[in-house]
């Protein structure tokens, strides 16, 4: 909850500054709550409207678990190959 605003503040300008894929490495994130999920969904929606790609990589078990409860894993691109190319 306390980090969601910071994440939003970091990611939002990237969509305006870069016209490329944005890859979020979650390997250092052991815990995510509903506000974190909502933040990432907002960024995904933003990426759709700006036609940028938005990918999540290296999901830890704790984070993957929460995504599974929301049944949102299929909505996000979480392929590790996203880092290549």
């Amino acid at each position: 909850m306390s980090s969601s605003t910071k994440v939003r503040d970091i990611l939002a300008p990237l969509f305006q500054e870069y016209n490329k894929a944005i890859i979020v490495d979650l390997s250092g994130v052991s815990y995510i709550d509903s506000s974190g999920i909502v933040t990432l969904v907002e960024e995904l929606q933003w990426s759709h409207s700006s036609q940028n790609k938005f990918r999540l990589v290296s999901l830890t078990p704790g984070v993957k678990d929460v995504f599974e409860i929301t049944r949102l894993l299929t909505v996000f691109d979480t392929k590790e190959e996203a880092l290549v190319g």
Binding site: M1, S2, S35, V38, D65, V66, I69, T70, R71
Partner: protein, 147 residues
């Protein structure tokens, strides 16, 4: 465990990590399966976040009291606040296809816990109770490990 474990934190998101850590220690002590542990911690964290957002209207220094009861089979947590009383008829889990701020935490709680109740029969605040049968979780985790 005969004695409940009580913890009181100020209603600010910076203290949510503390409540998560205490609960993790407690569940580790009771050899709760890792996945169940993560789910219960998520529910308690979401319930406390709801108190901060809705009960107290934002981060402040008002008390949130958590009482954990763990017996061999049962996990129960009571979250007490002294803020704005909630109208349980107005609490609706957000459909997962419609992700917007608000309601997703309640969806997690309803999805994970067996019993959830709100009690506002007091002068101030709400007593929120969540319960889950641990034995069922333990059995399904053991079956998963056998596969």
């Amino acid at each position: 465990m005969s004695q409940p474990i009580k913890l009181s934190i100020p209603s600010h998101p910076k203290y949510l990590g503390l409540i998560r850590k205490v609960l993790q220690e407690l569940l580790d002590y009771h050899k709760t399966p890792e996945e169940t542990e993560r789910h219960l911690i998520l529910c308690v964290d979401e319930a406390c976040s709801n108190v901060i957002k809705h009960g107290y209207g934002g981060p402040c220094e008002e008390p949130i009291e958590a009482t954990f009861h763990i017996d061999s089979d049962d996990f129960k947590v009571q979250i007490r606040d002294y803020g704005k009383q909630c109208d349980s008829s107005q609490i609706k889990p957000r459909c997962v296809n419609e992700i917007k701020p608000g309601g997703l935490g309640t969806h997690f709680i309803n999805e994970i816990m067996d019993d959830v109740s709100y009690c506002t029969e007091r002068v101030k605040g709400t007593l929120f109770t969540m319960a889950k049968k641990l034995k069922r979780e333990l059995t399904s985790a053991q079956e998963k490990n056998k596969e």
